[in-house]
Symmetry: C3
Subunit: 363 residues, 3 copies
C-alpha cells in the first residue's frame, strides 16, 4: 500500500516539503527504516537514529530542518503526536479478517445481520441480535440474545457480548473483552460483618457467619458511540438499570467495571483499573493504570488519578489525585517525601527529648 508523501500530508492535514511525489510503503522507527519507509522522528532526540536508518522521508516536528537531516522529503506537523492518529489509521494493515459471513459461523435465524457485515469463523450470534452496517466481527466471538450493535463495529477475536447489551456506533472490542457478565452482588440473610465494618471502619461486631444469596442482574450494559474496550476487560450488567459507558470513552485491558457503574463521555481508563459497583464518573476523567475506585461514590468531571491510586471517597471535579488512599497529588507527593525523612525525624525528636527532659539539662 504505497502512498506518496503528498498524499499522506494531505490526509493528516500537515505541511509537506521536498520531493513530495516520493512513495513510501510503511512507517518505521528512524534507526530501523528502509529506504522505502517513512521514518517517525517527531522529536529532535531522534536525529542520530535517522542517520543510522535508510529513510529518505520522515515525519518530523513543525520547524525541523529536514535538508540538514539528509532527507529528500518531510512531513512537518504542528502537533506530531496528534498527526500519529491520522497517519497510523491510514497505514494500518489490519487483522485480515476477510469479508462476508464465514460458513462456520452459527447465526440464529432470528438475528438481523447487515448484508455488508463480516462475521468470522466459529462466531456465534444469538436470537434477535441486530448487527448494523459496516460491522467486522472477528473469529470465535459471541453476541448474545437481543444485543444491538451499532454501525461500523470492529470486534477482535474471542469477544463476548451478553444478552440485551446495546452498543452505539464505531465500537471497538479488543480480544477477549467480556461485556455483560452478571454483577457480583450477594447478600446474607442478616446484616454481615462486612456491612458492620462499613459503619464502624474496623469493627465487624458479633455477627454470625452466614452463606450468601445471589442477587441476579436484571439490567444489561449500554455503551455510547466511539467507545473502545480492552482485551480481557470485564463490564458487568446492572442490577435493575443498565451499567452505562458514555460516548467517546476508551477503556484499556484487564479493567473491571462493576454493576450499575455510570461512566461519562470521553474518559480514558488505563489498564487494570477497577471501578466498583454503583460508582459514577463524570466526563473527561483520566485514570492511570491499576487505579481502584470504591463502590457507591462520585468522581467529578476532569478528575485525573495517577497510576495505582485507590480512591475511597468522592472526588470533586477537576481534582488531580494520587496514592492509597488517594488525596490531592501535590499533598500526596509532599507526604511521600516527608515519610522518607521520618526515620531521621524520629531520631531528632529523641535528641530533643534528651535535651529537654534528661536531668541536669533543661527538664
Amino acid at each position: 500500500m504505497p502512498f506518496t508523501i503528498a498524499q499522506i500530508a494531505d490526509a493528516i492535514g500537515a505541511k509537506a516539503e521536498g520531493d513530495t511525489a516520493l512513495a513510501v510503503t510503511a512507517v518505521a522507527e528512524p534507526a530501523d527504516a528502509r529506504s522505502d519507509q517513512l521514518a517517525m522522528a517527531t522529536n529532535p532526540k531522534y536525529t542520530k537514529d535517522l542517520s543510522e536508518g535508510q529513510a529518505q522521508a520522515a515525519v518530523l516536528w513543525a520547524d525541523a530542518d529536514w535538508r540538514d537531516l539528509g532527507l529528500k522529503a518531510a512531513i512537518l506537523p504542528q502537533r506530531p503526536r496528534f498527526a500519529m492518529a491520522g497517519l497510523t489509521r491510514m497505514m494500518d494493515p489490519g487483522q485480515g479478517f476477510g469479508s462476508g459471513i464465514h460458513p462456520s459461523a452459527v447465526i440464529d435465524p432470528t438475528a438481523q445481520v447487515h448484508p455488508d457485515a463480516t462475521v468470522g469463523p466459529n462466531t456465534v450470534i444469538g436470537p434477535r441480535a441486530t448487527i448494523a452496517e459496516g460491522a467486522v466481527i472477528g473469529p470465535l466471538c459471541f453476541i448474545g440474545a437481543d444485543v444491538v450493535l451499532g454501525p461500523n463495529a470492529y470486534l477482535r477475536e474471542h469477544v463476548s457480548i451478553g444478552a440485551r447489551v446495546r452498543i452505539g456506533a464505531n465500537f471497538i472490542g479488543q480480544p477477549g473483552a467480556r461485556i455483560g457478565g452478571d454483577g457480583f452482588s450477594f447478600v446474607t440473610p442478616e446484616p454481615s460483618g462486612a456491612e458492620a465494618v462499613r459503619e464502624t471502619l474496623g469493627d465487624q461486631g458479633a455477627t454470625d457467619a452466614q452463606s450468601y444469596a445471589r442477587i441476579h442482574s436484571l439490567g444489561a450494559v449500554r455503551i455510547g458511540d466511539d467507545v473502545e474496550i480492552g482485551a480481557s476487560t470485564t463490564i458487568d450488567n446492572g442490577t435493575v438499570r443498565d451499567t452505562v459507558i458514555g460516548a467517546g470513552t476508551k477503556i484499556d485491558n484487564l479493567t473491571q467495571i462493576g454493576h450499575n457503574v455510570v461512566i461519562g463521555r470521553d474518559c480514558l481508563i488505563c489498564a487494570q483499573s477497577g471501578i466498583a459497583g454503583s460508582t459514577t464518573l463524570g466526563n473527561n476523567v483520566v485514570l492511570g493504570g491499576q487505579t481502584g475506585i470504591t463502590d457507591n461514590i462520585f468522581v467529578g468531571d476532569r478528575v485525573i488519578a495517577g497510576g495505582g491510586s485507590k480512591v475511597l471517597t468522592n472526588i470533586p471535579a477537576g481534582r488531580v489525585v494520587l496514592g492509597y488512599p488517594a488525596t490531592k497529588m501535590d499533598t500526596q507527593i509532599e507526604a511521600y517525601k516527608a515519610l522518607r525523612r521520618l526515620p531521621r525525624l524520629m531520631r531528632d525528636v529523641q535528641t530533643l527529648q534528651k535535651a529537654v527532659f534528661k536531668p541536669g539539662s533543661n527538664d
Copy 2:
C-alpha cells in the same frame, strides 16, 4: 412473564399490602418505572424518584407508608436487600441459551453428558468428562478431559475448565472464567536472587543470573457446591495436590487464585484480587477489590480486608485489615491521618530544635 404482587411477595417471604392481584412484568428503578413495572424503592431516599415514575406497585421497606407514596400495592420486606435475592432470581430473563445439544458442539464420544443438559454452539467437551443433570453450558466453552461438573452447573460463554477439575453442584462460571491453567512455578538450578531477598528482606547477594526450569502442575482444581467464579478470573492447578475452593465461596472478575491455594467456605472475594501460591484462607473471609495476598501464608476465619490491601503476613481470625502492608484497619486509618499531618509536624520539630539548641533564643 407477568406476576401478581401476591405471587412475588409469597415467593420472597415478604408481606404485601393493597391490590395484591395487580400484575407486573418486570422490575425498574423508581424514576424509570412504567405503570406495569414494579419499582425497587427500598429506602426512603427514593420517595421523590417514585413520584417521577409511573409505578403502581413497589418494593419498599418494612414500615413504609405506601398509600402516602401514591401506590396501589406494595411489598414490605423486613430486610429489603435480602429480598432482592429472591425477587431478582424470579424476574431474571436469562441469557436465552436454549436447550439441548447444539449440533456444532464437539463432544468426545467418551464424555457423559446428562440427557437434560444444554450444550451451546461450538462448545468442546473432552474425553471422559461428566456433566450432571440440569447443566446449562453456554457457547464456545471448553471442558477438558476427565472433568466432573456437578448438577445444575451454569456456564456463560467462553468458559474454560482444564483436565481433571472437579466441581460440585450449582456452579456458576461467568464469561471467560479460566479454571485449571497451570501453576506459575519456576525454579533456578542454584538458589536465586529472589530467594535470597526473602531471607534478607532486601539483599539479593551475589547470586548469578540464571534461566528458569518449569515445575509442571500435576494437581488440578477442586471446587465445592454453590460456588461462582467471575469473568476472566484465573484459578491455577495445584502442583502435587489440588487447589481448593470451598463450598459457597463467590469470586468476582479478574481475580487470580494461585496454585495450591486453599479457600474455605462462604468467602467473598472481590474483583482483581490475587492470592499467591500455597496460601490458605479460612471460612467467611471477605476481600475487597484489588486485594493482594502473598504466598504461603494463613488468613483466618472471618478476616475482612479493605479494598487495595496488600497482605504480607499471616492474619489471625476475625481481624479487619487495610493498607499496604495491611495492618488492623483502625491502626491504618490513624496512620493515614498522621501521615497527612506529617509535613506540619516536621516544621514543628524544626521550631523546637531552634528553640532548644540555638544559643540564647526561642525563635
Copy 3:
C-alpha cells in the same frame, strides 16, 4: 505411567537408595500418598505427614535418613526444589488434547501447518500463518494472519495470537492468553490535562475537555524462545516497532504488557502485574504479584520488586524495591515501621512543645 525409582532418579539426576526397582504411578503429598505413589517430602517438616500416608518411596532432601522414615526407597536430590522440575515434567499427565488436526478446525488454505502438529477442535488459523513442528494447539484458539509460531509450541484452550506476531521455540500459552491486541494509545487535538499534569505533578491547568483520536498499532509482538504467557494475560502490539518479550521470560496470569514495552531475557513477572507503554526491562528482572510500572522508564538487570510495588521512576540494575512509590526495600521497610510509630511521635512532640513553649512550666 508407572516408573521405577531408579528411572526417576536417573531422569532428574539425583541419587536413589533402597529398593530402586520399586515402581510408582504418580506423585502425591506425603499424608495423601497411596502405597503405589511417590511422596513429595522434600523438607523435614513433612516427617509426620509421611507416617500418616502409605507411601513406600519418597523424594526427600540430600542427607535424609529414609530408613528411619519407614520407607523402602528414596530419592535424595541436592536441591529438592530444582528436582521438582524434572520430576513433574516426567509425571505430567497432560491435557489430553489428542493428535492431528481436528476436522472442526478452520485453517486458511494459505496457512502452513507442520504435518506433525496437533490442532484442536474449533480452532481458527488465519492466512499465511506458519506453525512449526511439534506444535500442540488446543481447542478454540485463534492464530492470526502471518503469525510465525516456532517449534514445540503448546497452546492451551482459548488462546489468541493477533496478526504478524512472531514467537520462538518452546512457547507455552495458558488458557485465554491474549497476544497482539492493539495498544492503548489516544491523543487529543490540543495538549490535554493529563499531559499538563505530567509536567506539573499536580496541576492540569486550563486545558479544554476534548475527545480522543486513536493511534493505531502498526507494530506487532515479537517473543523469544522458551517463553510462557499466563491465562488471561494481555500483550499489546507496538505502535511503529514491535513489543518485545525476551527469551526465557515467564509471565504469569492477568498481566498487562503495554505497547512498545521491551522485556529482557529470563525475567519472572508474577500475576496481575502491569507494565505501561514504552517501558524497558533488563534481563533477570523479578516482579512480585500486582506490581505496576509506569510508562517510558527503564528497569535495570536483576531488579527485584516486591509484591504490590508501584514503580514510578527508573530503577538501576540490581536494586531490590518495594512500596508505592517503590523505593529500596530496606528504606521502605524502615518507613513502614516509622509510620506505625508516627501517632506516638506526634504525642511526643506535643509534650515537647508544652515543655519548651508554655510559660512558667516544664510539663
